[in-house]
């Protein structure tokens, strides 16, 4: 405050009604502007990207090569929409073929926290190494903290080809 020609009297007070109008206006308008920025930001961050049709089916294995009654881990290439990229990547599934050529394909992650489980031949169970969840050959939870049976891929059989589709949606 080093301008010499200024009065040092105390500042003038506004009339109470004016003052209260100003304050209400400031708060009201600033809140509206805040909302005009925050709402689009929330939508932008929380809404899922516009849906991509991901109903692709890929040839995953020859049916005749799959053992009957014993799970087999198969790997296959599939395309994945990852943000702004569509990439081709390796995916795996645990596949069980029954005697009447019915095939089930399990997603390779434990339903507890997503660790990769494996088939334990001696106990005839799928066992997760992380928290010892165990699943039967048809995916049911036998032991451990897993909250639900193993997730499955949709499967189709075309002649001798086993085709794997998207994950089945659970209710």
């Amino acid at each position: 405050m080093d301008d010499e020609h200024q009065s040092q009297e105390p500042a003038v007070e506004l009339s109470p009604t004016r003052r209260s109008f100003y304050i209400k206006f400031i708060y009201g308008v600033m809140s509206a502007i805040g909302a005009a920025l925050a709402v689009p930001a929330g939508i932008y961050l929380l809404f899922p990207p516009k849906a991509h049709k991901e109903n692709e089916w890929v040839d995953a294995a020859d049916l005749s090569r799959l053992p009957t009654g014993t799970p087999e881990e198969i790997s296959f290439q599939r395309t994945r929409v990852d943000g702004w990229k569509v990439s081709s990547e390796k995916a795996t599934a645990w596949v069980v073929k029954t005697a009447d050529n019915q095939v089930t394909a399990f997603a390779p992650q434990c339903t507890h926290l997503g660790c990769a489980y494996h088939w334990d031949e001696p106990t005839h169970n799928f066992v997760c190494p992380c928290h010892t969840s165990a699943f039967s050959i048809d995916g049911k939870v036998l032991a451990g903290p897993a909250p639900r049976p193993l997730d499955r891929y949709e499967v189709k059989i075309d002649g001798n080809k086993l085709q794997i589709g998207p994950l089945e949606r659970h209710a």
């Binding site: 005009a36 990229k85 081709s88």
Partner: protein
């Protein structure tokens, strides 16, 4: 509530600090003409906010930047609004900073003791311009790329410092990864905190010396809050309404992906740099640096030193004839140059990519033969030794094949017997028939550092679809990306007027869908049908 505030006040003094800030005494002559500084702070906050949101979905590499911007604008709800706010906010910001400066200049408010406040302000103006310049590159479309090529070349013309500036901007050789990263770092890492610090200093200095009063203002002082804050808020509201309307209504351009080989593109800078662009046209040959570097440099220096050039005491606004004349002259010169630049800009030859069209993937630009070659590339597991541009592999980087070897005549014998063509080569011979080798070499010749990553990510359906297309000799009658004949209809853009069901029926029984067609029927397996249809439907226009 009161209790919480009291607790906080006792521990931090926050409440009294805020009160102290808001209840500052200001001169009675303060008013509407002084709202612009607060507006500048507000718009800076909007830029930080929207910029942060964009960064959440933006990939800062030349390989991904364009597609991620496209993704923000087309895939994310509200993405184009956020980008609109950030894009137009930059222009808003600049207009407001200039208006603020103009106001201070006309009033002569930079005079003693407020010289330092002014000088910090000039630096903030330069930073605002630097934000505009660096942000311009980030969408990585043709506009961004070519604009930056020109900018880095201009920096290179600076006397003495030129080569160093070019190196600092990573523009040596060409604009690419290095320049991009540096611009991104400047735009998001360096400039924002610098701006915050300088705004802090600027506001501190304003407080230190008090808001400049009008000459002869001896009336009792007033409080900053709420009257002046009310006026500031009105200004902010009007500005924000304009910005929001622009963001909703005015479409922000995103052109084609940056293409360094595009010789048809006519680069133009952002509108607020057009006057510099036009000035440059007056200086030819060795004098060019005068227009591009020396003159702007002198102007900035003069602006910086104004408080020391104009040292008289503060006078009434009406008596500052010289200042008004000077400002008017600057405004006329600026408008004249900008208008001239706009008038001489030829109508853009570039077709803008319509909003909603997804970015072109690398594979969509290949011919079926080249895509089939990619299939062999995968089948033969070539990537085991040639893992990609900028990655270390046993074999050489295929995007950097020296010119004498960049042809099929060299490559095919090399595929067949690698060690005979390149003595000492550890590459195993490629056991494919000659048609396959042709396709493989056609593909390898298409690999560049720019598309390498994209090509390797080609979805399987495209490779399989193209392979089926080739195996059935479709190109004998059809054309894709310029390859094949036009006996039957060209297939680019077929997805625009046909759907999957139509294609499938047409393959099984062409005559039922196109009477008079001479195309034979094809009985593909479900998997083959899937690949070939997906491939055809996703061909570019």
């Amino acid at each position: 509530m009161r209790k919480i505030i009291d607790w906080l006040e006792h521990r931090t003094g926050l409440e009294s600090a805020i009160k102290n800030f808001l209840y500052e005494d200001i001169p009675a002559s303060s008013g509407w003409h002084q709202i612009i500084g607060s507006m500048a702070v507000f718009f800076f906050i909007v830029q930080v906010f929207t910029g942060g949101l964009l960064a959440f979905n933006y990939a800062p590499t030349p390989g991904d930047a364009y597609n991620s911007v496209k993704y923000i604008v087309t895939e994310l709800t509200g993405g184009s609004l956020i980008r609109g706010l950030h894009h137009w906010g930059a222009s808003m910001m600049l207009i407001i900073v200039v208006l603020h400066m103009m106001q201070v200049f006309l009033y002569g408010a930079y005079k003693k003791p407020r010289e330092a406040t002014w000088m910090v302000g000039v630096v903030l103006l330069l930073i605002t311009l630097a934000f505009g310049l660096t942000g311009y590159l980030l969408p990585w479309d043709n506009r961004a790329y070519w604009g930056t090529v020109v900018t880095t070349q201009i920096a290179g013309q600076a006397p003495v410092a030129g080569p160093y500036l070019t190196r600092l901007l990573g523009g040596e050789g060409s604009v690419g990864n290095v320049t991009f990263s540096r611009f991104y770092a400047l735009h998001t890492v360096l400039l924002p905190p610098l701006t915050i610090i300088l705004i802090g200093i600027h506001v501190f200095l304003v407080r230190r010396h008090g808001v400049a009063p009008a000459v002869g203002d001896t009336a009792p002082r007033r409080k900053f809050f709420p009257e002046q804050v009310f006026k500031d808020t009105v200004g902010v509201t009007i500005g924000f309404l304009i910005l929001f309307t622009m963001a909703v209504v005015a479409h922000v351009p995103l052109g084609k992906l940056a293409d360094p080989t595009d010789t048809t593109y006519i680069p133009r800078p952002e509108w607020y740099f057009l006057f510099l662009f036009q000035t440059l046209k007056f200086f030819k040959g060795p004098l060019e640096a005068v227009g591009s570097v020396v003159l702007p440099g002198v102007a900035v220096l003069a602006l910086f030193l104004i408080p020391f050039i104009d040292r008289g005491p503060m006078v009434r606004l009406g008596k500052r004839t010289f200042a008004f004349a000077f400002a008017a002259l600057a405004l006329i010169a600026w408008s004249g140059l900008t208008t001239a630049a706009i008038m001489t800009t030829p109508a853009s030859a570039e077709e803008e990519v319509a909003p909603g069209t997804p970015a072109l993937q690398a594979w969509q630009q290949l011919t079926p033969t080249e895509l089939q070659g990619l299939g062999y590339f995968r089948k033969e597991n070539c990537k085991a030794c040639h893992p990609g541009a900028a990655k270390r592999g046993i074999g050489p980087d295929l995007t950097q094949i020296p010119a004498p070897h960049r042809n099929a005549a060299w490559m095919i014998p090399h595929f067949k017997q690698p060690a005979q063509v390149v003595p000492g080569s550890a590459m195993p011979p490629v056991q494919l028939d000659s048609a396959a080798l042709d396709a493989l070499s056609a593909f390898v010749l298409k690999m560049t550092p720019q598309n390498d990553e994209g090509l390797r990510a080609t979805p399987d359906f495209a490779v399989q679809g193209a392979t089926i297309y080739q195996a059935n000799h479709c190109s004998a009658c059809h054309q894709i990306n310029g390859a094949g004949t036009k006996m039957g209809p060209p297939l680019n853009g077929v997805g625009g007027h046909r759907d999957r069901a139509w294609l499938e029926k047409h393959f099984r029984d062409p005559k039922s869908m196109s009477p008079g067609s001479i195309m034979p029927a094809y009985n593909f397996s479900a998997q083959e049908m899937d690949s070939v249809c997906q491939y055809l439907l996703q061909l570019p226009k």
